[in-house]
Symmetry: none
Subunit: 242 residues, 4 copies
DNA sequence: CATGAATGAGCCTTCATTCAT
DNA sequence: TATGAATGAAGGCTCATTCAT
């Protein structure tokens, strides 16, 4: 049932290629560097052909964002399926999150852009739902691990504080850190030694603050961090660090 | 001596008004909604008049960002000058940070924008220095409180972790949280109960994780939070919550 | 093999039409009267269409100048291929030169314009080479005739004076005369009877001064002049004198 | 009667200064570099003040052109008042002409510009007459020398060829040569050895062609040329050759 | 379907000129 | 008279989108 005619396959392939080029252009030269012309030229297609796949520029941008979000979900899924106690698996998610923001520096700038009325309004309802779904899946994975931690008796959350609240906070610090790194040239000049290391350490102390066991005094999460990059995300590591 | 002629005063006033309008346009419709035409029309002035104040569009954007950053610094300064033990004063900074990001939802989108080469390059060196300074001042205030905590014996930082590293992490979570809130409509639908509350609680647990005394089990920072909004930032509270 | 599709032909045609309109606008109202808007409006095309042919205003101006220079070269070539002794063929070139400057009154104003840095710098290297080539070809034709004269024993040049030096002088007087005619309305009021006739006579006396045989006392170059206009440049004559 | 109040003197001085600045701007950066703003800034006056002297930009340009033309007339007058036989005095005029075009490379580009409808039409009748007069005076001086030559029996002009016709031709070659030099970078590349020398030699041969005595075989005009630069136009020589 | 020429709204910027102070 | 802020027409150019071939 899911077999595609060669023609349909070709169309789907091209769509993928369009989104990949769109992402590269966004990463390289920001939103202003993304033009239909540039996409078409890069792919060797004509402007009109692009419009046969996407009805307007905004649709491309959003489809690309969704694609990127799904990649993030995949990374999170891989991290979640590692073995170990829940907090150790959460740490693996931290690895995934860090790698993701480093691989897609402008992803959130694009997400912010998308929400601005002028773009969001041009989008189809279908696309908007797809985006919401992509977000949910990702959060559900992490929240599942938090719930595992509670179920194992490793963690007790405060009142008025859901597993999703914790996920949100962890995600916030990771994303926020990257955004600041991306926008403030010369964090070192401000006295920050190694922002990436700082965030990792900070997250561990946070989880310690929540009394999630094993505490960082009992298990060396930072050492595990390096190991996971290597073991679970070899491809991403290669892309980032050569 | 520093008295201005009425004319000069009017000019200075207009400069402020231009930046305010620029901010509103940026907030409303993003970078693409900010055009010299729109600013002029909004203010009832002609295009040329705007150019008598700012030599190009980019200068306006950056001047506006600096203005906003200085407002942040002022809020931080007010927070830092409250009484209490260092961690309590840091908590006041947290109040300032939260209020700031809520008051200026698009500020960081603008900051990200500014760093893109195409804009940054059109700016005068003077403006660039002003921006760097604005950032430094803000961070210095917070780092000062961290150092106070260390000096009081309330806090000991891990090796390889500077006061600025801590400031950076706290700032990351605050900024990141807001960015996510701004881009994900319907966090509640994802299961996040109250993101703002979650961040506050999260920060407290983080500082507990660093063993910064008094711990949140010894002092009710969340109650203090509400109090500070009311006492130190009445004006901002009014703007935000009516 | 070199056949063009109708579409391509149309495009090429339009390119020609753009340059023609550009020339008319330059003639009518000078450089300041030449605007992309005006060209588009005149042709009934949109701004964007013009930019599909020429990447900027300057390219149009230069392309137009090259086109005109090539017309000059063609006229010179036709003149050079007349029969007769070298000085008689040079006289034919004089005819061509006079007709050319009368047909293209503002050509040199445009050339002067082009050299001003602000325009020259925006041009592609390719275009610049094309222009240099167009100049060279023209001068080479005339210098060839001078060399023929020397080879025939009709002419001996002074020391330190190349065939090109002579070409340069002849060209100077022709071009200079036209420029003055164009800028001084009412030369007659100053006592100049017929500037065109004066230049022709002057050139003949100059060549007499160089002892280029047959001298103007031996051959009636001025009578030949009228004849050549009629015989070699009937089309140009029609354009100029109806 | 011609005494001016100090106030009037000041006004006249300023007008002169405005025209001088206008000329420098024209020479330096062409017509497009001449803006009311630039003039005002250069002089330290305000825009409005400039308008108290000249009703529009075009009036400045034309007034400047007239001023330059009068300088030419002065140079010609000095040349004409040297001693010697008429052709020798004409040679002195040639010196003046060459020095003038070298001192004011863009003068004729400006003159051509002025004639274009868009500028000429904005000019007062008075100004137009002043311009015509300036031209006449200059030509009259040279024509006077030609008439002297005829009166001395040194020269006989052909039929249908007035003294003014000769003046016109001589002026044409001088001006034309300079224009070409100014517009064709790399005349040497085209094979022209020394355009200035070529023109001088060319003019002598032309006058020989007219049998104006003493012929260049009888008197070394080129040697006299160098002498005259030094003796009659020391100031101009200094400006040009340092 | 693919193409790419054509469109035209819209942007940033310049600058001659005016006029209130 | 001098000033210089304000004006607004005009220009060059970009780019998403359409549509005839």
């Amino acid at each position: 049932m899911s077999t595609l005619t060669p023609k349909q396959q070709e169309i789907r392939d091209r769509e993928t290629r369009i989104l990949e080029v769109a992402r590269r252009l966004l990463d390289d030269s920001g939103y202003l560097g993304l033009s239909m012309d540039a996409i078409a030229a890069e792919l060797g297609y004509s402007r009109g052909t692009i419009y046969n796949h996407f009805s307007c520029k905004e649709e491309i941008i959003i489809a690309q964002a969704i694609r990127t979000m799904n990649q993030r979900t995949n990374m999170f899924r891989r991290a979640a399926s590692t073995s170990g106690r829940p907090r150790q698996r959460l740490s693996a998610i931290g690895v995934a999150a860090e790698l993701f923001v480093r691989l897609h520096p402008d992803h959130f700038a694009v997400e912010q852009l998308i929400r601005s009325a002028s773009i969001w309004d041009k989008t189809s309802e279908k696309r908007r739902r797809a985006m919401h779904l992509a977000e949910s899946q990702c959060m559900a994975i992490v929240a599942g691990i938090v719930r595992d931690g509670i179920a194992h008796g490793d963690l007790t959350l405060p009142d008025q504080f859901s597993p999703e609240d914790l996920v949100f906070c962890l995600w916030s610090v990771t994303f926020g850190a990257y955004s600041i790194i991306a926008t403030s040239d010369g964090l070192e000049a401000h006295g920050v030694l190694d922002p990436w290391y700082a965030v990792r350490l900070n997250i561990n102390r946070t989880l310690d603050g929540f009394q999630w066991e094993p505490l960082s005094t009992e298990f060396d999460y930072l050492a595990q961090f390096e190991q996971l990059i290597h073991d679970v995300f070899p491809e991403e590591q290669r892309q980032l660090f050569g």
